[in-house]
Assembly symmetry: C2
């Protein structure tokens, strides 16, 4: 033991995924530290002289897991500390994060300033917040608790917490959907259409957290998505577009931590949503952004008036941050396309690009509409002409060619991906018309079936709203790889199919965007 490491423990890596939380393990009879003394109070601080991390502590009574004299770290903690096994580390009581005082002020109803948000987001980025503290922050700033200046300041703080890309071009286009609609993979169509036009569209996207597929999960069926930033720059310079996973770029890293707590809690806060989306987009260097807000009874936004409020908030914060932002509200009453889950969604996308007659028309139409609006960011395209330009690019095969170019540039996926081995059909319980489809229930069934972990798991939809069905006809088919997942999905579908079957006159009228 050297003087600078007075009470060192030997570091041990424990191959346990503690899911976005740093956990440390100490034997009860440690000899150096009174392990139990650390438990109730906040976190512990672990350092090796140069690097320092924060972790919660579990006390262990099994020397095979951690022996006295050792300090175990779970995978995320071990990765963050970045020190080799068996190296000496010292442990201290962590001071509770100072910025929790601001969170408590917010809970008391006070307004927070930019410095407060900056301190909170810095502490969250540094992993100083426990999950319960993050939850407290989310609830305290949730729902209607933040005014729009606070949302702006939170967004700014999140941008400042990470890297910021600069593409050195005047027009960097992006589109983003607030989420919640299964199968809604329009980005995989909008990017090749827009890039084929020559507009720069470097799309960094996320993996699913609680949904059955994120854009990155679906793209991964077609191409590599974990690409280093330098390679992304090279690809984008040449192809004018990409569809990569954004996780390597450390853009607004606090957002990933917040989302890992927020999603399972199923909180719906407009302020958090705006801060999360716009911080990522500004950090990614986007100058022009088209936002898709689906509205429907089982969408994230359920009423048009709510969509309008959200639009204003996006416009205000986006405007202050200097991003050119357009919002469209779209039909969110049912899934888009036929497939739910990475592989089935990728198939829909490729059918649209290939002008395959089996391609789902709703996905094609929505993608053209969004691509058209993005193209209209181009000063040379007249307002209203975007849709026609987008359709020409798609119908002529130029979008497919561009997609193939992007896929080739990003690299083909490693192994072959197959549809899940196991499947079952969910049948109509009666004659009638489909009067409603529950997005949440279908997403949940697809998730239980194994998506997105098993890329070939998911749902293939046979019937959409307004279509006639006969009793016993299949509404959709569920694919799984694992027998247990097959059973979980089946049990869930048995509880509720997610479909409402009714009379013809109960079919809701056309969705009107206004």
């Amino acid at each position: 033991m050297t003087k600078s490491r007075p009470r060192a423990l030997r570091l041990r890596r424990l191959r346990m995924d503690t899911y976005h939380e740093n956990v440390a393990y100490m034997h009860r009879e440690c000899g150096v530290y009174r392990a139990e003394g650390f438990q109730a109070l906040s976190k512990i601080e672990i350092e090796d002289g140069r690097r320092r991390i924060y972790a919660v502590l579990n006390v262990v009574d099994d020397a095979r897991i951690v022996a006295p004299g050792e300090l175990g770290l779970s995978e995320p903690a071990f990765a963050q500390l970045g020190v080799r096994e068996r190296r000496p580390v010292i442990v201290r009581h962590a001071e509770p994060p100072a910025s929790m005082d601001a969170v408590r002020r917010k809970i008391r109803g006070e307004r927070l300033a930019h410095e407060d948000f900056r301190a909170i987001i810095r502490d969250i980025t540094d992993n100083r917040y426990s999950k319960t503290e993050i939850s407290a922050f989310l609830v305290a700033t949730g729902q209607t608790e933040m005014d729009r200046d606070e949302v702006l300041n939170l967004t700014r703080a999140m941008i400042e917490s990470g890297e910021r890309l600069d593409w050195r071009e005047p027009l960097v286009a992006d589109k983003h959907c607030i989420g919640g609609i299964p199968g809604n993979r329009t980005s995989l169509l909008v990017v090749p259409i827009v890039a084929a036009h020559g507009m720069l569209m470097p799309k960094t996207s996320s993996r699913a957290i609680t949904s059955p597929a994120g854009t990155a999960d679906t793209m991964e069926v077609l191409a590599q998505v974990e690409i280093a930033l330098e390679a992304i720059r090279r690809i984008v310079r040449k192809a004018r577009g990409c569809i990569a996973w954004g996780g390597t770029a450390r853009l607004a890293p606090a957002d990933d931590v917040l989302i890992s707590v927020e999603r399972p809690l199923n909180l719906d806060s407009q302020g958090q949503m705006v801060a999360s989306i716009l911080s990522k987009k500004v950090a990614a260097g986007s100058t022009h952004l088209l936002l898709d807000i689906p509205v429907g009874p089982t969408a994230k936004v359920r009423h048009m008036r709510e969509a309008q409020g959200l639009r204003k908030l996006f416009e205000f914060v986006g405007g202050e941050l200097g991003i050119h932002l357009q919002v469209v509200t779209t039909d969110g009453r049912q899934p888009i396309g036929r497939g739910i889950g990475p592989m089935l969604e990728a198939r829909d996308v490729m059918q649209v690009l290939q002008n395959d007659p089996r391609a789902p028309m709703d996905l094609r139409q929505k993608a053209l509409r969004l691509a058209g609006r993005v193209l209209e960011f181009d000063p040379d395209i007249r307002g209203g002409d975007g849709f026609t330009v987008a359709r020409d690019i798609l119908d002529s095969g130029r979008a497919l060619a561009k997609m193939n170019e992007i896929i080739a540039a990003q690299g083909r996926p490693a192994g072959e991906i197959k549809l899940g081995r196991l499947c079952f059909d969910v049948l109509a319980p009666a004659d009638g018309y489909v009067t409603g489809i529950d997005n949440l229930q279908l997403a949940r069934i697809a998730r239980l079936a194994g998506a997105p972990m098993d890329k070939g798991a998911g749902i293939e939809i046979f019937r959409k709203i307004g279509e006639r069905v006969r009793k016993g006809q299949a509404l959709y088919r569920v694919f799984s790889e694992f027998p247990a997942d097959h059973d979980f999905a089946r049990a869930r579908a048995k509880k509720s199919t997610g479909y409402a079957i009714g009379r013809r006159q109960d079919v809701p009228g056309a969705f009107v965007d206004f």
Copy 2:
């Protein structure tokens, strides 16, 4: 595999204390379940056919911790399931707790009904809430978010969640302090005084969570405190009083879960506090309760107006629950007595009981005042006479005799308890008068020194507010058992002693109760 256990894993107990949270461990290559599929979504459900528990899942890549085909459970989860090792268990996705909908409604600003609180508290008692969900509930119902009817309904729901004692006597006395003042061990004096008078006072108390000692921790220096309910009844029948740990009785069990999240978050919600205290007291069968609210700049309650608001809330909820309740506000500007930490506090208590001339006068005075107020619950004692009766009982040695009777009935402690081997003195930095003592800082130093885990760790105070000190004189002494704890406490005391030394005219005037 039997038909009723289609996909069983072998249960394995992992000797890890995951601190009030059920954690399960599954190997990534499980073969039966897709381990990762469980992670992002809520919790998993584990059952053996008869019993069922809920746990969060960690995915493990080390077969020595959990092998494929096994399901590991951390200590609290293993204890809760109550099934032997190697037995088959099956796993399912847990539905998110239905009552989280009510929490989300509360976050949106709605008022909750009794049924909502009942459902929430039932789910929390059943361990269906993750810590982040509990945190969301605490923040949503924190501060000024609950009106007094909601506090009453929450209290009722918490009472209903556990057992309820019935002492079959018309007057069951209790006293309780809202906490926050180190060394404030008046219960250990009030109980023997009141029981010596013949009034029934069966005190079930808690262990420290984030403080350096709880009543149960300090009593444990003198006697056994982990006593089965039947034994408590027998002791109380004979001695008219006891001071036992309340954890064995399953009184308002949801409260323990809530507190394990609330304390480290350092949230101060009057509604939560009232529900927590009154639910425990009503469940413990108390009919008459004296509540001590210390007020001071580093106490839980900092202003008299705040104390008044809290008093009204206690009176309203207590009144509705049919408990006879009196509130006293007391001087909370500094620690009470000389010792902080179980053993040093026990020494203060015994000196007072023994009428030792070295006994701390402030502890004696406060205990007599509180005991006097409790005695006045007796219809035969005139209002205002309680103090004198209490003093007679104490001075005559009857309180000491009663305490010895209670100690003998509960049983002597197992081993001998010694003062910490290591100590250091914290010195006055200048000549002057003690003008303030920071309760929080002294509690924190005593905690870092090892209290309450090491019963002999803590602080011995030499100087109180108003006393004169010379530069270099010791203000207090810190005792530890572990060298690491000694260093932690010393580093903390070096940052700030917790003492303000000033001019004579800066000494605050006498505390006035009104």
